[in-house]
């Protein structure tokens, strides 16, 4: 895999206008110019329609199945939100959906931030795992620490670990030009095997009390390091304050990108690294910095999940972890913006919970519906990235508006608000 980002050989000026955008962020600028919120919404609906066709083709009633999934996600709770009693199914399911949303927001931001710098961080899963492992280590050790300090330490170490893990890819990109997709894929698998190692029988984080039982699972995070639960019962995976951390991260993401010098540099590098370098911005530093910040989001997700509701982890859980990859779909559907990522995370959070644990359906089996999530996820990612489809939507919308402006269709604007 190469360097699809910067045009290195200096194409002729007329050629530039003809060529498709070379950098991910230039693509993003076009995506945002073209269609705005319409494209992601259309994409989502289209993906769900195809999912419905699959359900119907395999002999299930798609409308009933989707209704069951919506109920499984607890979205029907929104019809009567004054009832916060988690003993009722809808409220409980919705609290669980928000639990998934929390980690998905952060994993989505991990992809989105790097994307804005022109980097495709496919390593969110590895960064998440590294953060989670470190949070488990902190949460199990330092038993006598004060609760706020312990929690802060666990979260900070998790974010730092994720940042360091991702910074490896950023560093390799900056120094030897290794493509971040290759390196983050490798880092994902290294993290995967480290996770398998630390929780395995005799591994550094496997719980000593499990030894006679011989199960590859860690010890529980001590109560003093667990995040306070504000909705629901802690023993039943109540919604913890990590939810507000994720919302806060969305705000931080928006402020950093749009209201700070750092964010300006990141976006400038993402849009055109050559021009940014010409303008005096240190491109290499920004690659490392953007990857580190991305990794910090993913590591934070791992840390919050560990201290918030997982409390322990095993090798089987490591093997089943794919939330970092779901973050790709969240970020892309959310167009790598703060608000979009938040909404997309809620949608996918509902989908994840509503097709698995929350689903009680006579129409579609949870084991079947869980795979439906993967299909819809794939379709969403497939469609949101297709330039030509987006341009088609854009052009048709422009015709509807009957605006006189006939701009060159391939030309994205350099500065776009998010």
């Amino acid at each position: 895999m190469s360097e699809p980002l910067a045009p290195q050989h200096g194409p002729q000026p007329d050629e530039i206008a003809q060529e498709p955008p070379a950098t991910p962020a230039a693509r993003l600028a076009r995506w945002q110019d073209a269609g705005g919120v319409l494209v992601p919404v259309a994409t989502g609906i289209f993906a769900f329609l195809i999912g419905g066709v699959v359900i119907a083709a395999t002999g299930h009633n798609p409308i009933q199945a989707y209704w069951d999934i919506i109920k499984g996600a607890g979205f029907n709770w929104l019809a009567h939100p004054w009832n916060t009693d988690v003993a009722t199914t809808a409220a409980y399911n919705f609290s669980q959906t928000l639990l998934q949303t929390t980690s998905l927001i952060l994993c989505g931001l991990a992809v989105a931030f790097a994307f804005r710098c022109g980097l495709f961080n496919i390593g969110g899963n590895g960064q998440y795992l590294v953060g989670l492992i470190c949070a488990n280590w902190i949460g199990v050790s330092f038993v006598n620490m004060a609760r706020p300090a312990h929690i802060l330490l666990g979260i900070a170490v998790a974010a730092a670990a994720g940042a360091a893990w991702a910074a490896i890819a950023g560093f390799l990109k900056a120094t030897v030009g290794a493509h971040e997709v290759s390196t983050t894929i490798m880092l994902n698998w290294i993290a995967y095997w480290i996770g398998n190692y630390v929780f395995l029988q005799g591994g550094p984080l496997q719980a000593p009390k499990n030894v006679p039982l011989d199960v590859p699972i860690s010890a529980d995070v001590v109560p003093g390091a667990q995040l306070p639960v504000f909705w629901g019962i802690p023993a039943l995976q109540g919604l913890h304050i990590g939810f507000f951390i994720a919302i806060g991260a969305l705000v931080v993401f928006w402020i950093v990108l749009n209201r700070t010098t750092l964010g300006y540099e990141v976006r400038a590098v993402g849009y055109n690294p050559d021009a940014a370098a010409y303008g005096g911005i240190k491109v290499r530093t920004n690659y490392i910095r953007a990857m580190a910040i991305s990794g910090a989001f993913a590591g934070l997700a791992g840390g919050i999940d560990m201290l918030g509701y997982l409390h322990h982890f095993g090798t089987i859980d490591v093997q089943a972890t794919s939330i970092g990859f779901l973050g790709i779909a969240v970020a892309l559907l959310g167009r790598n913006t703060a608000l979009g990522t938040g909404i997309a995370a809620l949608l996918f959070g509902g989908l994840v919970y509503g097709t698995t644990h929350g689903l009680q359906s006579g129409v579609i089996d949870p084991s079947l519906a869980g795979h439906l999530t993967e299909i819809i996820q794939g379709l969403v990612v497939l469609f949101v990235g297709a330039d030509v489809l987006i341009l088609a939507v854009w052009n048709s919308r422009r015709k509807l508006r009957r605006q006189g402006r006939v701009a060159e269709s391939g030309q994205p604007k350099p500065e776009t608000a998010s």
Partner: protein, 399 residues
Amino acid sequence: MSTYAGTLSRSRLSDPKTVGVVGIALGVLAFVLAIPPVTLRSAVWPVVIGFVALVFGIVAISRGATRVGGGAIAAGIAGTALALLAIQSSVSNLDQVVDASLIAQMLVFATPLTFAAVGGMFSERSGVVNIGLEGMMLMGAFWGIWGADKTGNWFLGVLIAMLAGGLLALVHAFFAIHLRADQIVGGTAVNFLALGITGYFFVQLYHGGNIPTGVSQIPSLHLTSASSSTFFGDSFGNLNYMIWAAILLVPLSYVVMFKTPLGLRIRACGEHPRAADTVGINVYVVRYASVVLSGVLAAMGGAYLTVGYLNTFNENVTAGRGFIALAALIFGNWRPFGAFGAALLFGLSTAVALRLHVYSDLASTLFQALPYVLTLIAVAGVIGRTIPPAAVGRPYKKQ
């Protein structure tokens, strides 16, 4: 004449690169002496040979061959250290880790990687990044065994697998080429799709249970009788047809890619599509064909996994092998023999990792990260420079 030949050979022997390569070989030798079948139990020879390798490395560096010299020094140190470790260990344990069937097992693990890596080479050489290899492999794995189960014929099963992989690759190709989607995003999407489709239909068609036993399996080629036990027989005597197919695929794809006009066209599309278009090559057709071929080959690797080796299927059975194949492709510098060599290395590391259970489960688990660490080091440019095709990842728009 004779003096000319003499100077030539002398100059070759004193070439710093040769010195470095010999140093690397000596470092490897230091370790090989300590493991079966030689199983030297004295530390003297490995240490001496490892030291010589070190000296060769220093000589190579001092004469300018920094990279190879560094490799020789690393090989000398690592070879000696590993040899000393092996000498510490008991002979019976060593015999369990290193025996003739290790080569057979290496080939078993390398085969799916080879198919997918060579497939990926075609796609990426034509200018389309294919990180969807994993998904295409998974499609082949599921639909291959489904086909073998329903038709009762392993050959038809493999054909169905190839069709399924090719179809998924066609989706990737359509989005990458005609819709000019970001190829990495598209490849990621293809992986999700394959995971969802195979998982969904596995539950739907087999009711979440297991593939019935006794599904038609790809047979093995028996070169030696089962009773005789020779090194050659244990290694190569009883290999699956698909393993031989993978071994044949490598020179074949080399010839196609580097010795035929077709290969030249594929490479032209990957290096400079505008130039290729100018001389009358249909870039779209070449890219479509290459991407679909990559899906077909990756699916063959997946089909080998289920129909040839495991004879069953479970969700996400490929478990990242498509990504190791991608690593092998990068490691092998987008060349068939390079990719095959890397696939063999990764296959060997998997085979050794499984055997390391005799020492410790922990060591065995951690060892499985090795291919990825090696690739990371390779991508970082420590072992030579990996040079991808110039136009890979860029959509091409006809003028």
